[in-house]
Symmetry: C2
Subunit: 187 residues, 2 copies
Amino acid sequence: MESTTNTGIISFFGAEQGPWKIASMQTLIGAPLPEANCLNIQQSAITPDQNSDAKWILRGFISNLRYTHRSEKTMLDAHSKPLGRAAYHAAALIPIQKSKECWNLAQDERRRIFEEDSKHIQQSAEYLQYISRQLHHSRDLGEAFDFLTWFEFAPEHTEKFDALCAILRKTEEWQYVTREIDIRLLK
Amino acid sequence: MESTTNTGIISFFGAEQGPWKIASMQTLIGAPLPEANCLNIQQSAITPDQNSDAKWILRGFISNLRYTHRSEKTMLDAHSKPLGRAAYHAAALIPIQKSKECWNLAQDERRRIFEEDSKHIQQSAEYLQYISRQLHHSRDLGEAFDFLTWFEFAPEHTEKFDALCAILRKTEEWQYVTREIDIRLLK
């Protein structure tokens, strides 16, 4: 029988126990998530009935680049650092939802907002030396959030990460954000 | 508990019984799928253990447009016809896989191949009056195929559909196709 068994879906869930201690959960836009002590990450699409301990479950998958041009990809590939670095004990999970208006735009309109107007890649570039990150897509799965971005960094670079967040939150792109929660974690 | 229950995933599966009779399965590139009599479509992510009757299961989801520019979207929105038209008794499911090389390209490079080089949208436009279609994305789910495109048309327009397929299969874009099966169906 031809069928795959692994869906490529990753689940992030808040619970009493888990490898990442939740230091804070700050709701910036829209409805909050229930409080939780710890964050768990599982390489499968878990469901509430499988995890009665979970306070919330957020699911997403890693995809190909959807807005990045060749010159930007070459720069990102040269400067990005992989996740899991020994000194990077601090992390952040930032679930974001964007407006329906944004999703009804054409590809070239979304690209213009993302980079030509907001300079998302250009302004983030200098932070790649301090911060590792991985974007997960959720909207295609019918999830409440559209993106789950996972960041790792050394605790002493928390101010750098805060500065990056502040820059992005002032952009044209963020005018389309309808829900955002900033979850900070320590290992 | 905050969690969604519907994943937005649609399953196409071949079996002995089902609403769509499989008229032919033509493997154009790469490995074939096992023969099946009928096609079923289910609005959930079914697994082999849930469907012992299934010969194969292909899963995908509907997403936002990833390559279409504003002028093209305006044209498509004006001319596209919805699925499920009474006279459209014929259908085709065409699962396609593209090369790793293709997926490692940047967004602007993939767009150039898709439209500037291959004129995928421009050359398909005149067929919108005869053929309804819906693209499903599979690659992000770790599936064997990257795309499952579903087409519906009146049986008397089968030659129009064949002509459209012939045009697309001659494009630069199709140089990156590593597996393709053309499944024709009748209701």
